[in-house]
Symmetry: C2
DNA sequence: TTGTACGCGTTATCAT
DNA sequence: ATGATAACGCGTACAA
């Protein structure tokens, strides 16, 4: 009962505690702080009796392990950074949902950071490092190579999901955008549509571009034959409103407008469909066939019944966490580029 | 150059550093750790020259302030716990979106925890305490009074959003559920519908129950007159599918089915509408009037154009963060129960 | 304006 | 099975 730093020189009875620490529990239970620490961590080599007594004392005193101090000591937290940009993209939300519960099940905690402004990407990623995160998942934007080196140096694993990603030291997981684009092309060709289009946000996103290019490659032979035509369509935002306004713009001229459109993502497709049906009086799929990508929940709804290419958010999350865990566990893995299979889901828009 | 704990006894040149600390920067820049600390925090009383030199050295060495150590020292982190249950409820997502960006703008970081299992609520809330969170926002479930006392004791502010909440030491923010229910009732009465219904998830939620009760109170006089009838409708889940299946169940009998339904939330209303329109061939609003609650993004979409009661997620988030900040700032405020005004939005489903 | 010295609460290590 | 002790990296009185 002599040791430790407790009675620092003078014999004063310490300050009136505000927050209960392991020292308090130790004193109350008549053991050392080490023992308390071990009991709280369910360390094997502690006697059942002691463990029980200490845990009861802890509960009674209202003691909670201070994870900050713990992380400090271990030099690593159990936080995993989640880089996103808002919660507006339906598929990303579904992915984050899966990711969050899986991260939690693995004993980690998600620290969300929003980087709506791409210029903030670098700063935000570096800020994350301040929290001694165990790993980071990037679902929006693209970290610069310079940021990458910081992570590499600290040996903090990074996983890029559905991004271009040429980041050294980071794993990249994408769904099979190429195959998805091809499946969409095949379907539209088979349906007999002649004036095809691919709708994506202005400037494009990596995923969207790949999907579009695969689509175009696939229809190239028929294009060359002159059997069909193709137009590249552009919307101002990668969401419902973007698709809606693009619909108004591109579909007004019923004679020459595309009659089969592949959208870079479902959310855009929904807007496009609503514009076609409710603003222009077009029949979908009669006058216009629409194919999306992702298979978000809304695509399954009665009002849309969207034909689309499905990528499974749960599997994507599984791969992400699996990868993260192995790297955190110490496996010195080489950077990998994983591809998640996609599946064509035919509903009623083509 | 003698001070601190640096050279602990022996004169060994220390270990090969893996991670850069303020001591490294201090040594490299020829200043003390205190100075480095002050420079990184942009402390006023540091000379421009020193600050610049130190910050450059820091950047060059790849130094990042360790927020864990910092939090340890200050005995509080800049983490704010966000208690939710999955990311499936559209309005909650919109709210979280606003909340996350506002929390971030206030210099805090959101730590998300998912409590899909209500039994885990207590444990999860207490776990949050381990992270020395500066505050907590509860958007799902209801913390027990016992949990409340732990927070009270630690002086960590809690805000309950759209919950029943009788938590000591916590603020409760709700939208004006009563007024919303009344607005819905008024609209349905005015529309001339006779067989009214209120659709909510089995067992009910606090918000839903209040809305329903207000609705019923409002139509009570007309009910007593025998001019109209009312049925309480129940679905198995508080989402699209729940509404959809409820539609199939309650609307099949066209003669006696309700012709005006107020739904506890928009998401349910969407499912109900789709079942009515696409499975049963009913006209909305001709055969069936539908009113929702929340005004989620999908309610504005062409396919739905749902008449609803709007609660503004951004304002809710604003109130939440404002409240949190003041409490964190030290204001010893009494528990408050705030009410956010709602607004009736008439679209095309009634 | 800058440096010295201490303490934050925990866990790992070593000793018993 | 348990205890004593030394870090972990930082912020901040206090001193200069």
């Amino acid at each position: 009962m002599s040791g430790d730093r407790q009675k620092s020189g003078n014999g004063v009875e310490k300050k009136a505690h505000q927050v209960v620490t392991s020292a308090d529990v130790a004193r109350e239970a008549g053991v050392s702080r080490s023992t308390v620490s071990r009991c709280m961590a369910d360390d094997e080599r502690i006697s059942e009796a002691t463990r029980k007594r200490v845990q009861e004392t802890a509960a009674q005193l209202g003691y909670h392990v201070n994870k900050i101090a713990s992380s400090m000591n271990r030099r690593k937290s159990d936080l995993i950074g989640l880089v996103t940009s808002g919660l507006t993209d339906p598929f990303r939300i579904e992915f984050l949902d899966c990711l969050i519960s899986q991260i939690q099940q693995s004993g980690y905690r998600p620290l969300v950071i929003d980087v709506s402004d791409p210029d903030q990407m670098g700063i935000s990623m570096l800020n994350l490092l301040q929290y001694q995160v165990a790993g980071v998942v990037v679902t929006s934007g693209s970290p610069s190579p310079e940021v990458g080196t910081h992570y590499l140096k600290r040996n903090v694993p990074v996983v890029l999901v559905n991004r271009a990603g040429r980041l050294e030291g980071a794993d990249v997981i994408n769904c099979d955008n190429v195959h998805g684009g091809e499946l969409a092309a095949d379907m539209l060709l088979k349906s007999g549509k002649k004036r095809l289009g691919f709708l994506n946000v202005r400037g494009g996103t990596y995923s969207g571009n790949v999907r579009g290019e695969a689509f175009v490659s696939r229809i190239a032979p028929r294009l060359a034959d002159g059997e069909i035509s193709f137009t590249s369509l552009v919307c101002d935002s990668a969401d419902y409103d973007g698709g809606f306004h693009a619909g108004l713009k591109y579909l007004a001229d019923r004679e020459n407008a595309p009659d089969g459109i592949f959208c870079a993502k479902d959310h855009i497709a929904l807007g496009l469909m609503d514009a076609a049906r409710f603003e222009l009086g077009l029949k979908v799929p009669g006058d216009l066939a629409v194919i999306g990508f992702d298979d978000i929940a809304a695509a399954r709804q009665g009002a849309y019944q969207l034909t689309t290419v499905r990528q499974r958010a749960d599997q994507l999350a599984e791969m992400t966490v699996e990868r993260l865990r192995r790297r955190i566990g110490g496996d010195a893995l080489g950077d990998e580029r994983l591809v998640l299979p996609v599946e064509f889901i035919r509903r009623q828009t083509v």
